[in-house]
Point group: C2
C-alpha cells in the first residue's frame, strides 16, 4: 500500500496581508519539508486571509492575490521545495464567466491551488458556498464545478474547501465515484461554542461517504469578530480518528498514512452533481516503503469553560496584533466585567502590556477602587487612578444635568478619559460590556461602550461569573494567584452612577434574564414560545421590549469575539428603526 | 377596448410597523376608491416595510406579517372595498419547501398578494432576487416560480416585483407569452444619484418586451440609510410615457388606461424560464365605457442638485420620525458642513425643532461663533453657546495631554456635550461629517463622529459646497433669506483644534481629492488606473493610504443618507483589520 506523510498547517492568516501570509506559508512549508512531509496543506484562503468580504469585489485585490500565488509557487521552488506539492487557499476569479444574474461582478472565486514544480499545477474553487449566519458567499463568489484531484506518489488525492463537506452531495460522493485514496478539505470554519463535536461527527460521516481517509484542515487565530479554533482532524475511511490537532494553537499536524494505490487509468469525465473531474498527475510512483514516524494521536481537549475562555483570549490577541497594537487600556470599576476583561487581556498580551485606570466619581463605593487595585496587584497590570470629579463639575456647572443625562455624563467622561490616554500613550481601548447588558441596552453610548474591541460582548453575564470563577480555579490548580478578586465576584453588580444603584433596579436577576435572552436572541424564539417554556408572561414582555428597543446601541458597539452561533455580531442584522415588537 | 383606472400609491412604510403600515394602506385605498380606481397597488413589502434584513429569519415576524395580511383583507372588505382588487407587498414563507442547500431557513418570501372580496385572492413571490450592493436577498428569501395574473374587469394583469424587471428573462417575457394586457411591478428600489434616467429607460424597454402597458410603482421616503424617491412610471406598449409621478412625494398616481381585452380562455401551463402561470379571474367583464378623467402626464423633474438635496432632507426626516424624535441637535462650528446639515435639518423637521450649539475653545477663531449665530439668525433655529474651556482645563489638569490627544480631546468634549443635551432635552444628535473626511479618516472617533445620523456622510466636500450654494440660490429665487452665511462658504475649511489649523495642512485640495476618492471608493479602481487617469502618483499613493487605514473610524460612524451606488454605507463591507494596501 502506498504511503504518504501529510502535513496539515493550521495557521493564522491576516486578511489582506498577502506578503505576510506568503511568508507564513513559506516558513511552515520549510518546517513541513524538514519533517519529511510528502504533501503539505494550508487553510482556506490562507494567502489572502479569511473572510475578505467586499475586498473580493475589488479587481486590484483579486489580481494581487493571483500574482502572489504565482510568486509563491516560484519562491517555493527556488527554496528547493519544487517537488513537494503544497495546497494553498487564495482568491481567484473565473476568467470565462460572463456577467449574469445572481453572480458577483468580476466572478471572484474562493479558490485553492496545488503548487508544484515552481508553478500552479491545479486550481479549483469552492463548490458549495455558505450564505447564512456570518457567511455571505453568494455575494462574493462564483462556485467551482470540478472535482479536483492530484496524483501524489501514486495516491489519488481529491480536494475540497470547507462548505463542500458541510453540505450533502457534491465533492464528497464524487470523491468516492472517482476512486480517491485520500480526501483533503481546507477550511476556515469559525469557532462556535460546542461546535467541535459537530465538526468531528461531520468529518467521520463524510469519510465514510467518500470511502477514503479524510483530512480536515482548519484555520486558527482570529479575524475581527471571528475566532478560528484549529482542531484539524484526520479520520480513516471507517470514520475512526487517526489524528486530531490542538485547539486554537498554530502548528503543523504530521501524519503518516497508508493509502490505496491509484488506478492505472486516471479518473475523468463528469460525475456526481455534474462535477467534472480535473485530474493532474504530479508523481505517479509510490514512495519506497518507510517506517511511519508520526502515528497520529489526539491532542487533549479543552473543557467547555476553558474552550470559551481561550477563544476570548485568542480573539483579543489577534485583533490587537492585526491592528498593530502592543498594549491595551481598560477602565477598571472594580466590578466583574472589567475584571474578567483584564484577566483575558493579561493572558492575551501579557500583564506588562495591560493598562488599567480607575476613574472614581462621587457615587463610586469605597470598594470599587480597592477591588480594582487588588486586581492590579494580583495580575501585575499597570494601574493608575484618575478621579472624574473636576470634569464632572465643569459640565454640571455649564449644563445643570439631571437624571439619566447626569448618569450617562459620568460614563462618557470616562470614555473620553480612556480615549485621551489611548491617543497619548498608544494603547487600544477595550470595552467591558457583556451580552446581557448589550441585549437590554443597559449601557451608555460613547461611555462604557467606548473601545476598539469588546472581548466579552458575546458572553452573557452568568457566563461572565462562570468564566471568572473558572479562571481563578485554574490558576489555583497551577499554584498561581487567582487574578480576579473574590469581592469583584461576590458583590452585587452595579453601574455606580447614582447613590446605592444596583443592576437589579433595572434588570431582572441575571440567571432568569440570560435564559430568556438566549431563547429570544440566539434561538429566534417568539414571545409565546418563551412563555410556553415556563417563564412568567409579564417578565418575558419586559425583557423582549428592552431587547427590541436597544438595537441602535448595539449597532454602535465595537466588534468583539464571537463565540455563539447567533448573537450581537456580524450575523445579526436588524433594521435600526425597526418597529417590530414581539410584545406589541 | 376595456378600460381601467389604475391607482399607484407611492407610500413610505416603516420596517416592522405592521399596524401602522396597514393603516396607511387602508387610508390610501380609501382615497383611491374615492377617486374611482378599479385596481389599486402598493409598493414592495409595503405591509412590513423594506428592507426587513434579518427580521425575515424570525419566524414570529413572518407569521405576524401573514396574519396582518389576512386582517387587512378583512378590513378592506368591511370598509366596503371588497370588490376593489388591492395589490400589497408583504413577507411570506414557502409552506412546502424543505430545508436545502443555499436556501434560508424557514423559506421566507419577498411576496405580494392581491386582496379581493375580503380574502387573499392570489399570492406570489419575487422571482429575481438581487444580491449585490445594498441587497442580500439570497440570504433572506426563496424565489417565486410563477407568473401571477389576475383578470380585472376583463383585462389580464400580470404582476412582478422590482428585480423581476431589472434582470433579463423571467416575468417580463412571460407576461408577453401569457398575453397580458397590463404589467404591474411593485418596487422598493432605493434612490441613487442619476438613477432616475436609468429607471425610465428600463421601464420603457421592459414594456416593449412585455408587449403591454407597464406600470412601475415605487416606494418613497426613507429607511435607515436608504432613501426611496418615488418617481412611479406608467408607459404604453411602445414605451411612451403615459404618467410619471413626482419624485420623493407620498401620493397616489391615478391613470385611466385603455387595455386589450383578455382572451376567452385564461392562460395556463408553464411558460418562459419554467414559470407556471397562476391566473385568477376577479371580474371577467369589462367596465361600461367611461370618460377618462386622469389622462396621466408627467410631474416636473428636479435638477441634479435639487434631487440630491431633497434626498438628504427626506432621509433625515424619515430617520428622525421613525426613531420617534421630533427635534434635532447640531454642534455649529461656523463651518460649511454643520451649516449645510443645519439647513437640511430645518427643511426636514422645521427650524423650530432644530437646536444648534456653538462650543468654542481657545483655538476657535472669532468668526466661528459669529458665523454660527448668523446661520441661526437666517434660519430661525434655536441657538446657544457653551464654551468648552472649563472641561478642557479639567482634563488637561489631570492628564497633561499633547498633540493629537489634545486636539481630539476638544472634539470629544463637544461630543459629550451634545449627548448630555440630547439626554437632557430629547433631541437626536446629527453628525456633520462629509464623505471626503470620512474617506480619509479626518475626524475624531467619539468626537465630531458623535450622533445618531450623519445626513451628509455620503456627500463629498466639493458637493457640500455645491449644495450649499444651490440651497442659497434657490432661496434667493423664491425671495427668501439664503440660510447659509456667505462667510461659511468662502472661508478656508478648518477643524480649529490648534492655532491656525486648516484642512489643507492634512489633506490635498478638495477638488483633486474628491476626484481621486470617487475613482477609488465609488468605482473600485486601483492605484495604477487612477494614475493613468491623470493624477500625480505620489498624491494618489498618499490619498489611497489614508483611505486604506481609515476603515475602523468609518465603521463607527453613524448611519446616514445614502445617495451613491457605492460609498460608506451598508454595501461597503471591508474587514476591519484588513492589511491590503493599494499602495504597498
Amino acid at each position: 500500500m502506498p504511503q504518504l506523510r501529510l502535513a496539515l498547517n493550521q495557521i493564522d492568516s491576516c486578511v489582506g496581508d498577502l506578503a505576510g501570509n506568503a511568508e507564513t506559508i513559506l516558513r511552515w512549508t520549510r518546517h513541513s519539508a524538514e519533517q519529511g512531509a510528502h504533501l503539505v496543506a494550508f487553510p482556506e484562503m490562507a494567502l489572502t486571509g479569511y473572510p475578505v468580504e467586499d475586498l473580493a469585489l475589488r479587481p486590484s485585490f483579486v489580481e494581487a492575490s493571483r500574482a502572489a500565488l504565482e510568486t509563491l509557487a516560484g519562491r517555493l521552488a527556488a527554496e528547493g521545495f519544487g517537488e513537494l506539492p503544497v495546497i494553498v487557499g487564495y482568491l481567484d476569479r473565473d476568467e470565462s464567466e460572463q456577467p449574469r444574474y445572481g453572480r458577483p461582478a468580476g466572478a471572484p472565486k474562493n479558490a485553492a491551488a496545488v503548487l508544484h514544480g515552481g508553478r500552479v499545477a491545479l486550481r479549483f474553487a469552492k463548490h458549495h458556498l455558505p450564505n447564512y449566519g456570518v457567511f455571505d458567499e453568494f455575494r462574493y463568489f462564483v462556485p467551482g464545478q470540478t472535482l479536483p484531484m492530484v496524483r501524489v506518489r501514486g495516491v489519488d488525492v481529491a480536494l475540497a474547501i470547507c462548505e463542500d463537506l458541510w453540505q450533502d452531495g457534491g465533492r464528497v460522493p464524487a470523491a468516492r465515484s472517482a476512486g480517491a485514496g485520500l480526501l483533503v478539505s481546507v477550511n476556515a470554519s469559525p469557532y462556535e461554542r460546542e461546535k467541535d463535536d459537530t465538526r468531528l461527527d461531520l468529518v467521520r460521516k463524510r469519510a465514510q461517504e467518500a470511502g477514503c481517509t479524510t483530512a480536515y484542515l482548519a484555520m486558527t487565530g482570529g479575524q475581527d469578530e471571528l475566532v478560528f479554533d484549529g482542531d484539524s482532524i484526520v479520520v480513516d475511511r471507517d470514520g475512526e480518528v487517526i489524528a486530531r490537532a490542538p485547539q486554537f494553537d498554530e502548528g503543523c499536524v504530521l501524519v503518516d498514512l497508508d493509502l490505496p494505490a491509484a488506478a492505472a487509468e486516471p479518473p475523468a469525465g463528469t460525475i456526481d452533481d455534474g462535477l467534472r473531474v480535473e485530474h493532474v498527475t504530479l508523481s505517479a510512483d509510490p514512495l519506497p516503503a518507510y517506517e511511519p514516524e508520526t502515528p497520529g494521536g489526539e491532542a487533549d481537549r479543552l473543557d467547555d469553560d476553558a474552550e470559551v475562555y481561550t477563544a476570548l483570549v485568542v480573539g483579543l490577541r489577534a485583533y490587537a496584533a492585526k491592528n498593530g497594537f502592543r498594549s491595551v487600556l481598560i477602565g477598571l470599576s472594580g466590578g466583574i466585567d472589567s475584571a474578567l476583561v483584564a484577566a483575558i487581556a493579561c493572558d492575551a498580551v501579557g500583564a506588562e502590556n495591560v493598562y488599567g485606570v480607575a476613574m472614581p466619581s462621587r457615587y463610586s463605593s469605597e470598594h470599587s477602587v480597592g477591588d480594582a487595585a487588588e486586581l492590579a496587584r494580583r495580575t501585575g497590570l499597570n494601574f493608575r487612578t484618575v478621579p472624574i470629579g473636576p470634569m464632572f463639575d465643569a459640565y454640571m456647572g455649564s449644563l445643570g444635568l439631571t437624571g439619566l443625562a447626569e448618569e450617562n455624563l459620568q460614563s462618557r467622561l470616562r470614555g473620553t478619559m480612556l480615549m485621551a490616554l489611548s491617543n497619548q500613550e498608544g494603547h487600544i481601548v477595550l470595552a467591558p460590556g457583556n451580552k446581557s447588558e448589550l441585549a437590554c441596552g443597559y449601557s451608555t453610548l460613547y461611555g462604557d461602550s467606548v473601545g476598539a474591541y469588546g472581548p466579552i460582548k458575546d458572553v452573557y453575564k452568568t457566563s461572565v461569573f462562570r468564566l471568572a470563577k473558572w479562571r481563578n480555579r485554574s490558576a489555583a490548580e497551577r499554584g498561581e494567584t487567582p487574578p480576579i478578586p473574590e469581592n469583584s465576584i461576590s458583590k452585587p453588580p452595579s453601574a455606580e452612577l447614582r447613590p446605592g444603584q444596583v443592576d437589579t433596579d433595572s434588570l431582572p436577576d441575571y440567571d432568569v434574564l440570560d435564559r430568556i435572552l438566549e431563547l429570544y436572541v440566539d434561538r429566534d424564539q417568539g414571545r409565546s414560545e418563551i412563555i410556553a417554556a415556563g417563564f412568567e408572561a409579564e417578565l418575558v414582555t419586559r425583557v423582549l421590549r428592552m431587547v427590541d428597543t436597544a438595537e441602535y446601541k448595539r449597532r454602535q458597539y465595537p466588534p468583539g469575539t464571537k463565540i455563539s452561533a447567533k448573537g450581537f455580531g456580524k450575523d445579526r442584522r436588524l433594521p435600526i428603526t425597526n418597529r417590530w415588537r414581539e410584545t406589541a
